[in-house]
Assembly symmetry: C2
DNA sequence: ACCTGAACACCGTTCAAGT
DNA sequence: ACCTGAACACCGTTCAAGT
C-alpha cells in the first residue's frame, strides 16, 4: 500500500495530464494517491523538485543519436504526449542549461553551440505549439494548421540550409 | 490618489523586480499600491492579463529594424533589465506565436520562419541566462561566464554561417 | 470610476505524532 | 520507511457596498 518515489512521479504525471499545469498542485497529487498532502514531503523536497523529476521522466526515454532531425521530432513528440509537457520540460531545462545531460548528448553529435541552440528551439517551439492548441481548442485564437511544418522549417534553419 | 491601469502595471513591475516571479502575487501588487487586492480587478481582468501587459511594457520600447543581430541584443537587454523579465515575456509570447506584433515586425526584415526561430531562440536563451545567474548567485550552480558569447554564437547559427 | 471589507475556495510547507 | 492530523501563512477572485 505504501507509495514509492516512482508512484509519486506517476501520480503527478496523471494529475498533470488530466488537469494541466494551471491546476497542478501538491494537494491534487496527494489526492490522486489517496494520501495526505504532507506525505508527499517524505518522497520529495518540494514542488519544484517534483516538477524536475517529472521533466526527466518525460524526456528520459528519448533516444539520442546522430540524426538530429529525428531526435528533435522524438523530443517534440515526447513533450506533446502529455498535457503541458513542454512547459514542465522548459522550466526544468532552462534551469540547467549547460548542466543538462541532454545538451551534452546532443553536443556529441554536433557542437556545443548547435546543441544548445537546437534544444532551446525544440523546447520553445513545442511549448508554443502546446499553448497554441490549448488556446485554439478553447476558441480563444484561430487554429494554425502550419505549426508542424513551421517546426520542420525552423529545424532546417538551425541544422543546415 | 486614484490609480490608472498604467499605475497598476508600473507597480506590478516594481514588485516583480524586487521579489521575482516566485513571490509575485496580486496581493503584493495591491500592497505596493496601498490598495485592497480586490481593487486591482477594476483595472485588469485577472493575473494572466496583468502579466501580458507587463510583457508588452518590457518589450514594447525595443526598436525593430533590419539589423537583426542588434535587434536581438536589444530584446535580450530589455528582458535582462528586470528580474525574471524573460520568463514573463516567454509565457506571454508563447501564447501568441503567430499573432504577435513582434514576430510580424521581425518577419518584415527576414522571413516568417527566420523571425519565429529567432524569437524563440532569443527569448529561450535569455530565460535560461536569467535563471542561470539567479541559481549561481544562490550558489546552487557554478557560474558560466560564457553565456553572453554563447548567445552571440547561437545568433550566428540562425542568421547566417 | 475607483475603491473597501468580507468572504470563498483554495495553495505549499512544517512538524509532532503514529505504525 | 511511510503516513496522519493539525496548523501556519499565504493565494486569486467575487461581490455587495461605499464615494
Amino acid at each position: 500500500m505504501a507509495n514509492s518515489l516512482d508512484d509519486v512521479i506517476d501520480g503527478a504525471l496523471r494529475v498533470l495530464d488530466a488537469r494541466g499545469m494551471e491546476f497542478f498542485s501538491m494537494r491534487r497529487v496527494a489526492a490522486e494517491l489517496d494520501v495526505q498532502p504532507s506525505a508527499l514531503y517524505h518522497h520529495v523536497e518540494n514542488k519544484q523538485t517534483l516538477l524536475t523529476l517529472m521533466a526527466a521522466r518525460i524526456v528520459g526515454p528519448v533516444t539520442i543519436d546522430e540524426d538530429l532531425v529525428a531526435v528533435s521530432h522524438r523530443l517534440r513528440d515526447a513533450m506533446l504526449g502529455i498535457r503541458d509537457g513542454a512547459e514542465v520540460v522548459a522550466t526544468a531545462t532552462a534551469f540547467r542549461l549547460g548542466t543538462s545531460e541532454l545538451e551534452a548528448e546532443l553536443a556529441k553529435y554536433s557542437s556545443p553551440d548547435i546543441a544548445r541552440t537546437l534544444l532551446i528551439y525544440v523546447i520553445g517551439h513545442t511549448q508554443a505549439t502546446q499553448l497554441h492548441s490549448q488556446a485554439s481548442t478553447l476558441g480563444l485564437i484561430p487554429h494554425d494548421p502550419d505549426l508542424d511544418e513551421s517546426f520542420v522549417r525552423g529545424l532546417a534553419i538551425i541544422l543546415d540550409r
